[in-house]
Symmetry: C2
Subunit: 256 residues, 2 copies
Amino acid sequence: MRPWGAKSYNTPVSIPRVYWPLGEPHSGGVEFTGDEAHRLRHVLRMAPGDAVSLFDGRGHEWTGQVGALTRQGVAVVNLQPITPIPEARASITLAVGVLKGDQMDAVVRDATMLGAAVIQPLRTAHVTVPPKAWQSGAARERWQRVAIASATQCRRAVVPEVLPVADLSACLRASAALRLMCVEPAVGAPAADWRPAAAPPESVLVLVGPEGGWAATEVEQAVAVGARLLSLGPRTLRAETAPVVALTLVSSAWGW
Amino acid sequence: MRPWGAKSYNTPVSIPRVYWPLGEPHSGGVEFTGDEAHRLRHVLRMAPGDAVSLFDGRGHEWTGQVGALTRQGVAVVNLQPITPIPEARASITLAVGVLKGDQMDAVVRDATMLGAAVIQPLRTAHVTVPPKAWQSGAARERWQRVAIASATQCRRAVVPEVLPVADLSACLRASAALRLMCVEPAVGAPAADWRPAAAPPESVLVLVGPEGGWAATEVEQAVAVGARLLSLGPRTLRAETAPVVALTLVSSAWGW
């Protein structure tokens, strides 16, 4: 859904964006080669003089124009820093039980779009995806590429870092000002009654189970280290939708 | 994500559910034929004595056991009414610009899972899906089937009604205690600052634009009839994710 007004922050939505992870671009301009040059030239069909924006994935963004199109690449010149879209007021880590390929890609895409600063794939009791699907670095590289593509699309200047798959216990040991474990209501379960404090905490860890949900011992383990329980409503959510619902609740809690 | 405790309301998540739209089942039991019989027997591999639950799509649910498996069908006997999962505290209509096939199916599926009571597909200025894709009754029938399948999965006892495609102006004329139009922030646009009142309104109309967003005149038209503007955050959301974010905000506003 595009903004309905004329401009969104400093970058009109009609201006294509390109990921430029190499730091402050040279004042004289930069040159894209390889995949990004292909995208600019053949997918976006950009011509010299067309407006384009660059973002570094760490919160910086610049606008410029397409310069020379050579056999080697596409130049972007006249770069000027612009104000990027603001980040969420709390730094949010989404820790989520590993899902199968398409579902996990959707979770990474949507978590990027909903403002997660870090994505922590989890190995939990009920993860059913075989380890060979996520143990190599290839899965993490793919998820990181998905995050870059999603940041490009949603006009975010920050690309969340996708961490290597970790155990729940290691994840719970990492520091976080607020830990929220997402649960659905169940008879006899501890009440999920987290309400946001007036001011955002510095960091929030949002824990979402895999397709099979949490084992009871996992909930106990999280509660033992101070995690609060967050209800995602009375209905059984699809595994790849639960993170969208959770991140909406947390990101909007302090006015986005 | 399944509940992590033993039971969810009266229906443990392990009990398969079947849609039974024919009203109060006969006390002696009911017999499924056709697709539902096939699903019970060959997909769910149910045997006599297995627990099953029936829901009528209008808020009623019963548990029973599989009885006789005959060539004609599958009987379900010993039916007892149970307490269904509660509905949202406000009756929510999701009105959404028509999206292409897969995306619209996902929106209907997710809106069902997030508690919409009615789904109103909209023809708006920026809808790009050709009329032949949605003008016949076939599209509406497919969306209604998607809603039934989603209610079955998410354990909801109510199936939202999918209305025929309507114009935005007709939709705005229909009665609703609260109208919310979802917008993304844009420089110079009226501020989106809806905050929920303490008590839920009787009915809420949630308006979400199609892939191309709202035309400025459409926002003016909604504001003119008293619609409030609801922000879905600073980033550009995918068209099929915006309804999930909007329904999460509205459904959770009064404690789900």
